[in-house]
Subunit: 337 residues, 2 copies
Amino acid sequence: MANLRKTPTMHDVARAAGVSPMTVSRAFKTDALINEQTRARIMAAADKLGYVLDSTASSLRSQKTDFVAVTVPSINNANFADTVGALSEKLKPRGLQILLGYTNYDVHEEERLIAQFLRRKPQAVIVTGGQHTPRTRQMLENAAVPVIETWDLPAQPLGHVVGFSNAQAVQAMVDHFVAQGLTRIAFIGGDVDRDTRGLDRRRGFQAAMQRHGLEGRLIAAGAPPISMREGAEAMGSLLDSAPDTEAVICVSDLSAFGALSECQRRGVAVPGQISIAGFGNYEVGAICVPSITTIDPAPRRIGELAAEVLCDVLDGNTEHPVQRHITPQLLLRESSV
Amino acid sequence: MANLRKTPTMHDVARAAGVSPMTVSRAFKTDALINEQTRARIMAAADKLGYVLDSTASSLRSQKTDFVAVTVPSINNANFADTVGALSEKLKPRGLQILLGYTNYDVHEEERLIAQFLRRKPQAVIVTGGQHTPRTRQMLENAAVPVIETWDLPAQPLGHVVGFSNAQAVQAMVDHFVAQGLTRIAFIGGDVDRDTRGLDRRRGFQAAMQRHGLEGRLIAAGAPPISMREGAEAMGSLLDSAPDTEAVICVSDLSAFGALSECQRRGVAVPGQISIAGFGNYEVGAICVPSITTIDPAPRRIGELAAEVLCDVLDGNTEHPVQRHITPQLLLRESSV
DNA sequence: ATGAAAGCGCTAACAA
DNA sequence: TTGTTAGCGCTTTCAT
């Protein structure tokens, strides 16, 4: 049976085309010095044999892979998906392939992932956030691989940074509500600190409230990521426990939408009786009625900038660690007035 | 400088631990025959040197990778993310790593991805849908790698299948509306046939309408994937052109939510004046007010079954192509009565 | 523009 | 339980 034949190698193609294996190797490189007719003959032979280049062998010999390792907290999040999408599109022309892993908002799972990824000798490692286990930090240092931290401004960067201050962004939101004369303001977010960006947003909320001499109300919505349902439940307990609340800032648009829905179920007017704001500029917040005031952290821009930084590093144009800051935009919508 | 040292290899660890490289290799395998004290000594030496196993070399020598190639239409879709998430969790214990690519609903992009992935000699290829270019089909056949098609019931399967009939699921939805006495029913979906699952749903709609002797109204909402915004716009033109429509079935919950929002903006009562249904059981449809009637295709179940099939194949328990069918559930909610 | 020799780092196969 | 030998498929390097 034909299927019992071993997978053809470069050697087989070389013999079929009447050249040396080295010439076949050249034929498969776009920029190699080779006669076009020879290449055509080789490609025809390769096609006939069903030859597929073995990039494992190629990587081993050249001591160079085309992998870029990327970790995100969740595979199921439109914001991170946008960042990865932009990254992927920008790296595709360079022939770089993304090795994607998700940490489930857990630094130990991140450690496990990074350890696994480093065995593949990636060209770079791009992570979400600036919180890592000591072992992760050490592995990345030992690997001497370019590292880019995204979506955050780490206190002690591992290398390059493409991010923004989550705390600062939420402070702008608080200022907006206070400027409207609102004082009884609550924050709906995760009840544990696994999600460091969520934690930063909560801290930003509290810092801003304190600055205004106000007392912030914190509503715990469960373990990150906070879903629409958890947002709705949190809004329910807020309405039960502190019905005089005038505004609610949610850790994300998803929980904000859940909160909005709970208000609608209870006949609480938004805005009017209560204003709602989210974070992340997810599509749902732009489409729903009323639309939800939010902060746009430009997730695709983060991916594009990370790709830019990475290309500079790989081209040797960047010797020192780079910091590229995003400026999140406050988007005022119908849910706050 | 310490950093100028070459990356340590097994050889270096072996010398440091006073054993042969082969013993080091064994120490890094969980199930290898090795003295535990020797292993401890080796691990200590490896740790001190910052040694990281080179899985490229390992794969080349053993002619075996731990990659599973997976393609999905979009990285930014909660349903496919759930499938990939479940797949990933089930494959992790086996030490299999997912190589994820997204096709952007384009069979040619799928072809490009598969070609790239096959160079890595994956253990299996898992694709979304049953529509592929001839070249893709041929590459996969040549590679003699296990293939699983998901989310669909392909007419000509490439190998194993874990899916359901999108057409049939939508027919059940039409039957539901007709049973309620509704006759003027519209379908909002993509205007090109790139998304074969969307196309199947539209066909199911038309077939069911025809079976009931009714004429279906088709509203084109743009190129897949259909967003919430496009759903809203499509509902706008439907309300303009055919205001007597009694029910709308949307290609997904996202467009259904957009359609619902547009109704709310225009003061059209849902349900009452118009009933709305979606597809996919996305969270937004369960939380919004009114909640949206939908079909649950059990995306995580698809991933779990695919992982199950894959494990059976890798264990040699499955010689012949397998078909595992999902039965999507109709979820009746507030948007239809 | 093409070829020959060597070896990337690891592990299969066999030996002790 | 550990060691020795050989070679996976490719590309670097040097030669022609």
